[in-house]
Amino acid sequence: MPASKPAAALLAPFTTIGRAIIAMFAAVGRVAMFAGRALGRAVTPPYYPARFFEQLAYIGWFSLPVVGLTAIFTGAALAQQIYTAGSRFSAQSTVPAVVVIGMVRELGPVLVGLMVAGRVSSAMAAEIGTMRVTEQLDALTTLRTDSYRYLIAPRLIAAMVALPLMVLAANAIGIFGGWLLAVQKLHFNSAGYLAVTRKYMSFDDFQMAMVKAGVFGFFIALMGCYHGYRTSGGAAGVGNATRNAVVSAFVLILASNFLITAMVFG
């Protein structure tokens, strides 16, 4: 029996919330199935090594300039902030320690993740989405080529390999940026600064940064590919897919960063 009008009005907020929760679980399920299918194809032949190396170059090598610039400015700004804040408590000497810890544990992985997500997730979603609306994905299928194997798996694996390497580079460049500012502007002793940096550089922190980078790489490629693959509705659909890919990659990077940090230090 249908609910009476007042009862229906009373239930409306719960209905809306319930629908949203069901839709969220359905979306998580679809993404999980998509990821599982792609990873399954990644570990079984036939493989596409040329596609993997193309993606590795695109995601890694060609993102290096933007990542390098971000890291050097962030390292330098961090050094300046710590120096200014530390001077209130006569704690200026903490600059090298905070720069190395801040870059390696948080800023390096997160900034690289966000920069690469902006550059790569959007491009993947746009490329695969355009392939969807121009029937190129159907053409792949009729030419007996598994689109997960040919398009998705190489991108996922390449992003998971490229991100840790880029985070390593970003950490080094960020620490260099902090050192440059400290020595040139704040008149730190170079040898002393480097000695403190080495002292606070921990293998465990690097290990955590690499884990974060691998996870971020996976999410960046997954969101780009997933939203591109599910594109519908022509040019507007490609635009929506691109936006959704970037936004969801950002959210997943920040959420997983928190979870990994909480698990390690919690």
């Binding site: 596609r51 029937e135 159907d138 053409a139 299928t141 009729t142 030419l143 007996r144 080529t145």
Partner: protein, 252 residues
């Protein structure tokens, strides 16, 4: 005993969110025959092709290729079935990121970078069949005109020497002269290669030139089927209205 149809669709139905697109479709195409399906936009022509190719799964009914049921095929069996097909897509659907010669040989390599010298030779031979020379081998699809893209897509469709070729609106977007060139190419390829062909089109000139028989699809059913010479005197009110392009008639 009559020869087994190459493609046989029996009572095929397909709906999308309550919208019935195919409503008990029945169609038989003989080996070596060229069939054209005409009908309004949204009448289910492309859905029919996609159901046969396994890109969409019908809600009910049977689709047989060489007598073997293909609805529900998966994995290797579906792959072997698809090896029988070539497809010319409406917008050509060439892979933007690959040069012309890799596009043409994609069906032979499944995108793997193998045997480059031999593949280039195969691409050259197939491009020659569609009236293009080797100067286009290294060009990207975006560097070609619409007509040339159609020819490259045609070369890609025939390169693996399929038994059946589907043509989805092969002349859409082309001027009448280029459209006729593509029609001639299709006729000669179908004759030379001895393939079974299924074309969906709005272009009556194309249907009359390419096909041995023409079928009219309306509201998910075949409402008329007959030889191409009868297209303009079919005696069927739906076909008459469609081929004459009249707004008045049973098609609303």
């Amino acid at each position: 005993m009559a020869a087994q149809p190459k493609i046989l669709l029996t009572d095929v139905t397909k709906e999308f969110a309550g919208n019935v697109v195919l409503d008990g479709l029945n169609l038989a195409i003989e080996p070596g025959e060229s069939m054209a399906i005409i009908g309004q936009s949204g009448s289910g022509k492309s859905v029919t092709l996609k159901c046969i190719l396994g890109l969409l799964r019908p809600d009910s009914g049977s689709i047989r290729i060489d007598g073997a049921e293909v609805v529900g095929l998966r994995g290797g069996a579906q792959d072997r079935m698809r090896a029988k097909f070539g497809m010319l897509f409406q917008g050509s659907a060439l892979f933007d990121s690959l040069p012309v010669w890799r596009n043409v040989t994609f069906g032979l390599t499944q995108g793997r970078r193998v045997d480059g010298t031999r593949m280039r030779a195969i691409a050259e031979e197939n491009l020659e069949r569609v009236g293009l020379d080797k100067r286009v081998l290294n060009l990207r699809p975006s560097e070609l005109s619409g007509g040339m893209q159609k020819r490259v897509a045609l070369a890609r469709a025939i390169a693996p020497r399929p038994e059946i070729i589907f043509f989805d609106e092969p002349t859409t977007g082309l001027d009448p002269i280029r459209a006729d060139v593509i029609n001639d190419l299709i006729v000669s390829l179908v004759d030379d290669l001895g393939v079974t062909a299924l074309t969906i089109t709005h272009d009556m000139a194309s249907a009359r030139k390419i096909a041995h028989r023409v079928a009219m699809l309306y509201q998910g059913k075949i409402v008329w089927i007959g030889p191409r010479d009868r297209l303009y005197d079919s005696g069927n009110p739906y076909v008459d209205q469609f081929v004459q392009g009249r707004a008045e008639g049973p098609i609303t």
